[in-house]
Assembly symmetry: C3
Homo-oligomer: 314 residues x 3
């Protein structure tokens, strides 16, 4: 028994050390760029945009690939233009953008969008996410010592910048709807990154009794498996129960959020939108709690929008 | 007679010195946070938002409480994340946010929203406003010497940041209407802060023959009484006559602004909005001159929106 | 023959040296401010805005005059407030703003809007454009050495800042439509500045076999003549053929952009807009390729909007 435990411990040690030492450049970075550009490619209107305004399409792709670095730069008041200093990264991302949008017969897109390939790439992207969260915490610590909110913010920004900047990205692509934003209706990626940022920050100020490398390994494995499962089953590993428990514990002064959500939720909003211009304030309720974490950003939203458009044309 | 004047002078000196030395932390800061969060709580949709997305609600509250510091940081290209360095302030504001939105039986909200309590808190907030304007001028002077426009801008930003950032705040809460913004249609708080910033800046470059401490005392008393009066009578102490005089003097090349406003004003705009999507350009005229300074930001806007919604449903 | 060539060369040398040494302040700067404020004055709704909210109108004018400096400051994380340090420039621009919007009998506006005057001023503005592009490249080089994308970005930002910030400007004026932005649908000025920025940057890293001063001379003459021609004939010197050739070469994986544009283009969009609220994603196609460069920003857009409004009222 002791031998088995020892063996397990040694394996975890080795794996987590390997993960920490793993160089992101170039393979994991490439996977990150491909998955980011693929997500953009699958958004409604992106393909048309790529034909009518390649510059906008390129800029939007860069926002998706380097959103974390951009948001971090803004939060720390560093020049956004500094992103261009790593010419290699920009060049690599640009080549991938070009191949995915403009390759002959759409070959590169079709290849990378195949489920097995995409799953592998997405899992690789999850590895870059953990590493980015960790680098965000290191950066925050080097500037502002052990300040918990700053560590969480920077780590979150660095890990989920593309998501948090999605409103700006939508504005660039001319499809922005001011009634929605990532904070009100967080995507799965933004959510899981926030959880990671909180966990890693708590570890940093020694509130969690886990070794740092092990925590990173566990987090990466969890997000990897979760992503894998979500993509293959097209469902989501939700935190519904935990979220709803916490929610009820802290934020229900008088009545349940769930009831409220059911009352004002999806139905109202869709009606309002189809009627005419603007979503009324109850529209924010669309983000009902417990909300199922939404999986593939592109796919799902595309389907949703397609759905609502169909309704309109009826 | 001389004794009375001497007594008056001595009293003013003492009072103004006392006001300058008054520590804001914690009581006045608390009043500022309570009034800011209350204003948010009374906006349409805020309560629903607090149930569906507590994180967004918290972020919006922080924007209302620390908008001045944030806007100043942006104007001076300082890291916005530095706001988190004063953990105590953030923690205090967060506790107040939590109590006002989620206390059992809504007790804290009901207590603080009682008119006498609210009036006292609002007057205390006016004191923090004067102090913030002054600290803005000191900050601007320390960086850019006696530059009048910079002093006015920083003092205005610091004193009325929450108001000037209200578009961003509305965007965060998902109820943003791009056709409106604080510059076009200034609220009373933004307006009075601008006047204060101009007065204090003029004093700083020795254009006003008043002592600095006295000016601060007079300004604080004026804003305090004004606020008090506005809240109790639900009307507004307007600068209409002065504004309209200045306006006619400087900005009427060919015809009166008032006529124009009456022509394009409220009626057109409401019709346009109820018809469908967007307000035409004459819609900006809604901000008619002389516009009555609008009092309670939350209350009035809520009533307006309720009104326009009713019209739609007819 | 040799004498003629020599004479030509000497003339070019002298002219280009003269252009480089030409001081912008005050005459060319004044021309730039006048043309910028005129463009704003001719936008729909601007005149009404100047009567209802002079502060907003002034702020918008400053955005148009100093957009380049502002955008450069943002990209380099320098304090935006620093724009106010050059009090003279701000004062000059403010005086021009005041004269153009509020002069008795609209005299100044009528005088400067006369075609011959406007043409001269516009050509002078083109000179400031070249100089700004060059100063942007010098600035970028002093900070980030020979980094091509950074040089292009800063030069573009400095030369066409007002255009690139036009969404923000529209937001300030309360007429912002999130579906449009300058990147998707570049104006002629933004386009020609980008070309200039690319050319000058390529020269800077010695990819172009032209002398720097000569390049500047040629570019200035080209933009000047082009502008002159555009304003007098109300048509545009387009890059359609070159653009379409490059477009087809690089960005047409499977089918022609032109066909696509014709398919989704103008008709669809107008229908969608007139129906109700929001433009669907194909709406971005309005920017059809090869798009004719749009000349006078204000005039054309005004006419377009007037047109679409008429359609609505039918």
């Amino acid at each position: 028994m002791a031998t088995v435990l020892n063996f397990y411990e040694a394996a975890v040690d080795e794996l987590s050390d390997g993960l920490v030492d793993l160089p992101l450049y170039p393979y994991f970075e490439i996977a990150h760029y491909i998955v980011s550009v693929l997500a953009l490619r699958e958004e409604p209107g992106a393909r048309v945009l790529s034909r009518t305004s390649p510059l906008t399409c390129w800029f939007s792709s860069m926002l998706n690939c380097f959103g974390g670095a951009l948001l971090t730069a803004i939060l720390l008041a560093q020049p956004p233009i500094q992103l261009f200093i790593n010419s290699d990264d920009i060049l690599l991302a640009s080549v991938i953008w070009y191949l995915i949008f403009y390759s002959p017969l759409d070959g590169v897109y079709r290849f990378t969008a195949m489920l097995p390939i995409k799953v592998v790439l997405s899992v690789m992207k999850e590895v870059t996410r953990s590493k980015k969260i960790l680098s965000g915490i290191t950066l925050a610590k080097s500037k502002y010592q052990d300040n918990l909110p700053i560590m969480i913010s920077i780590a979150w920004a660095k890990g989920a910048g593309g998501g948090l900047l999605s409103s700006f990205d939508q504005f660039v692509r001319g499809i922005w709807i001011p009634e929605k934003n990532e904070l009100i209706r967080m995507s799965y990626a933004t959510r899981i990154t926030l959880i990671g940022a909180v966990l890693f920050s708590l570890k940093e100020i020694e509130y969690l009794p886990v070794e740092k490398n092990h925590l990173m390994l566990y987090y990466t494995i969890f997000t990897g498996i979760n992503k894998c499962w979500m993509m293959t089953t097209r469902s989501a590993f939700t935190f519904s129960s935990v979220e709803c428990f916490l929610f009820k514990l802290f934020f229900t002064g008088d009545f349940s959020c769930c009831t409220l959500a059911r009352k004002f939720g999806i139905f109202k909003t869709d009606n309002d939108t189809s009627k005419g211009g603007r979503v009324n304030s109850p529209g924010v309720c669309r983000n009902k709690c417990p909300s199922p974490a939404r999986g593939g950003r592109g796919n799902r939203r595309a389907r949703e929008e397609a759905g609502s458009r169909n309704k309109k044309h009826k």
